[in-house]
Each structure stands twice: as structure tokens, then as C-alpha cells.
Amino acid sequence: MDTHAHLSASDARPVLEGPDIARVLTRIAHEIVERAKGADDVVLLGIPTRGVFLAQRLAAKLEQITDRAIPVGSLDITMYRDDLRMHPPRALARTEIPGDGLDGKLVVLVDDVLFSGRTIRAALDALNDLGRPRAVQLAVLVDRGHRELPIRADYVGKNLPTSLRETVKVQLAEEDGRDTVLLGVKPADQ
């Protein structure tokens, strides 16, 4: 994080600011209600860390629209990653499945950035061990392209064409103290 902080200060530029993120989430909430015809059986599962905060914000907006409590949880995919053997083990985050479970529900996975698609593949594997949803959809704040697997998002906050030399960093008030999406450039040596 620290290496990134001094980089973002000079090189990274914001592509979405706080009000943009709020508007984007409101739109996604409406799209979910429209496509699910009322969001009766929707369960939101955020992928830690920032996906969880986005899922909670989406749930709040959905509750405003539908006047109904929306179950929201988190899904840690660390143990299902396909690159586990390439790094030291990572600390685990919390998996919290809402009380009614996932069987027969419409699960909407929520993450901050969609990139290679490998995180979502791991999330689908993790879901397999937790229940059998009626359907699974994917909502992301930013889709930066460069997919390595046949995966696409159902709800996209912003399509952001990037090169592989660029970095996309989402910051949210709950974790980072402010809402913004930063587009930066990787240092040449990495």
C-alpha cells in the first residue's frame, strides 16, 4: 500500500470521484431491480475487502427502492485462488452468508475491479461449496478489460479501457477515508 501511496500522489489521476461513485451505484441498484423484476430473492455477496463495502452500499440503495430488507454478506475467495502456490499464503477475510442461505436465491457478486476474471472464477468455485443459487450475476464498479477467462459482468459502473502498464485503484471511505477511482502507471521496474 505504501509503495502505491507515493505513486498515486503524483502519477495517478482520478477517473471517478465520490459523487460519480454514488450515482453509479444508484444506477446499478435500479438495473438489478429491473432485471430481477423486483429483487425479491436477491442476495448481495461482496468480495473482500472493498467489494463488501460496495455490496453494503448497494443493499442500502436497493432497500430504498424496494422498501424491503436485502440480505447482504461477504465471500472470501482466498482459499480458492488459482495462484495460491505462487505467493506466500495470504491472510483470510471473512465469509458471511446471510441467514437464509443461498439455495434458490439470485446471488449478485459485488467487486470493485474486474480485471483478469480469475477472482470471479474463484468466487464461483467458493459458491459451489456454499449452496445452489437460482442464478449468479456479477456487479463491478470498474471493468478495466484484459480478461483471461470467459467471464463478463452483468452490471458495470464504468468501463475503463486500460493498458497492462496501468493500475486501477479503488478507494472507499470505509477503508481508505475517501471515495475515488485512481488510474495510475506501474513503475517501470515491475
Binding site: D76, P88, A91, R94
Partner: protein, 325 residues
């Protein structure tokens, strides 16, 4: 973290807290309909037990299976060891089979250390109890149980046991559990007091990071957790106390003594319990006794240790940096 887990004294405070935090997430897997994670798929773990054990071996086996490792069980009885094979030859046989980790229980203190440092084998070595030396996963599961009960399940995340007062009572001399607990609890900031008859206190105890007392009754009112140790008759070849009756009168925990503990204090026992000796049935079956909980927590702790040692390309470092996208 180091590549092997030989002694609780090798763990730093951050390592230990990382293991406890990881175990907290592992514990939640037990509540799922499918109690299995794919994390150690394709890794082979050998449970190498030269000494009898029920709960530790089953606990390790359950942990390995929940993480999808391939498990090979080896017990000295009915193996080539009874024909006179040495530890070195056994180790080289396992190495030739390509195992990734060895969980070893041995009657000789230092056997796991020898196995890890001899160059006989490339696998990670996890000590499941060696002689009267160490039993690190037991100390970790005890610390985990204390943190859950005394600090809280979620409130405990990221925290150690600073300021908690823990009393270990009984056969300290023969107890690898006591040694491991003293080391780990000290690392985690707890204050440890050993209570035992003078004959069951080891030589050199003054260099351990703990207090020593011979009087249980005066210690009880000021402790948050009291751990009763089993009197290990199988390791006793001399008279360490006059009679069992006298031992249990002075150092056994009965209902009357339990009443002197502070309200929130818990009673722990690493098992197997000898009811009527160090602990009465009344205490063993009470709500304050965490024996069964300790067994359940043992699986979570062993899953955490296996994941942190074997889950990646090298052992986990604490604290871990999160990677950017």
C-alpha cells in the same frame, strides 16, 4: 513464519496472532454444509506417530482432509520401526515418496528438530508432541480457546492475551503442554503461574518466563484461566508424591475450589482427563470447563497452521501485504 513448527518458542507475537486469526476463519468452515476447502489439493501430508495418540492424530487428520490434502497415516506399531528401522531410514522412505509435510509425534524430545534440520527430508515438519519437550499446536489451540472465551470471537481478531492471568496446575515436569503454553502465553503477553508439588517442578524453571507457586488455593482467586495438567503416570518411574489421594486433595480441582475462581474464569484441560485425580467429574462436566471446545478448536488451529505453512510457495509472513489489482 519459519518453514517448520517445532517449538512454540519459535513463534513471534505477530506469527501467533496470524495463526489465531486464520483459525477463527477456519472455524467457520465447520458450520458449512460442505466442510471442505480445495486449498491443499495435491499436497501429501504424512502423520508419523511413534507414540500413542487419539485426539491429536484425529485432529490433524480432520484438518488435513478439510483442506483437501492427501493423508498418509503411519503409526510405529505394525510398521518397520518395530522391526528396528531408524528415524533416518523412515524419513528417507517418506522423502522418496514425495511428501510435502510430516506431522510427527515422538517419545524422544528433539526428534522433530532432528528431522527438520538433518537434511534427511525436504518436507515441512510439524511437531505434534515430542517427549517432554514441546507440543506447539496444543499451546496454540489453548491460546485460541482463551482468546475466544476471555476476549471474544470477533473482538479478539488481531489481539493477543495481554494482561490475562493463566495458572497451570499439576505435572509440569513431564508436560510438553506446559512448556509450550508457558512459551506461547508469554509471547502473547499473558502472565503465567505454575502450581505443582516441588517434585513435579523441573530443574531450571527459574529461567522460564513465569511464576511458580506451591499453593493452589491462594492462586485461584486471581486467575482468568486455570489449566489442569494430567498426571502422566506412564512417564513416572519414581515416587513424586506420597499418595494419589494427597495429590488430589492439594492440587486437584473440585467444585469447592472452582467456586473460588473469578466469575468469568475458565477451566481448561488438554486431555485425556483422569477424573478424580486432577479434576473431579463435577468440574469436568461444568459449563466453565472447555475440554470439548478445545478439541473442536484444535481442528481449526491445525487447519490454520497447515494453510500458513503449506498453502503458498513459502510460509506466510506476518503481517501480509495485500496485493493491488
Amino acid at each position: 513464519m519459519q518453514r517448520h513448527l517445532i517449538s512454540a518458542a519459535d513463534l513471534t507475537r505477530d506469527d501467533a496472532v496470524l495463526i489465531l486469526d486464520t483459525a477463527e476463519e477456519m472455524a467457520r468452515v465447520a458450520d458449512r454444509p460442505i466442510k471442505k476447502l480445495p486449498t491443499l489439493r495435491g499436497r501429501t501430508v504424512v502423520n508419523l506417530f511413534f507414540e500413542d495418540s487419539t485426539r491429536t492424530r484425529i485432529s490433524f487428520e480432520a484438518a488435513e482432509k478439510r483442506l483437501s490434502a492427501d493423508v498418509i497415516n503411519f503409526s510405529a506399531k505394525g510398521s518397520s520401526v518395530s522391526k528396528g528401522e531408524s528415524l533416518k531410514d523412515t524419513a528417507q522412505t517418506l522423502e522418496a515418496m514425495g511428501v510435502d509435510a510430516v506431522v510427527i509425534r515422538h517419545g524422544a524430545s528433539g526428534a522433530p528438530y532432528r528431522l527438520a534440520t538433518s537434511g534427511w527430508i525436504d518436507a515441512a515438519v510439524i511437531n505434534a508432541g515430542d517427549g517432554t519437550h514441546q507440543h506447539p499446536t496444543q499451546a496454540l489451540l489453548d491460546a485460541f480457546t482463551m482468546r475466544r472465551r476471555l476476549v471474544g470471537r470477533d473482538a479478539g481478531l488481531g489481539r493477543d492475551l495481554a494482561g490475562k492471568r493463566v495458572t497451570l496446575v499439576g505435572d509440569v515436569l513431564h508436560s510438553r503442554v506446559a512448556r509450550s503454553n508457558v512459551d506461547l502465553l508469554h509471547t502473547l503477553g499473558a502472565e503465567v503461574t505454575l502450581v505443582a508439588p516441588p517434585t513435579l517442578i523441573p530443574v531450571g524453571v527459574e529461567s522460564w518466563p513465569c511464576e511458580v507457586s506451591y499453593d493452589l488455593d491462594s492462586t485461584l482467586p486471581k486467575c482468568d484461566a486455570v489449566m489442569m495438567l494430567r498426571v502422566q503416570r506412564e512417564r513416572m518411574n519414581a515416587a513424586f508424591f506420597p499418595t494419589e489421594r494427597e495429590y488430589s486433595r492439594r492440587y486437584g480441582l473440585d467444585g469447592e475450589r472452582m467456586a473460588r475462581l473469578p466469575e468469568h474464569a475458565i477451566v481448561m484441560h488438554p486431555g485425556p482427563m483422569v477424573r478424580g485425580m486432577e479434576i473431579t467429574a463435577e468440574v469436568a462436566d461444568s459449563d466453565r470447563c472447555t475440554v470439548v471446545e478445545q478439541v473442536a478448536n484444535g481442528v481449526s488451529i491445525r487447519m490454520a497452521v497447515l494453510y500458513l505453512l503449506l498453502g503458498g510457495n513459502e510460509p506466510a509472513a506476518a503481517p501480509i501485504r495485500t496485493e493491488e489489482k
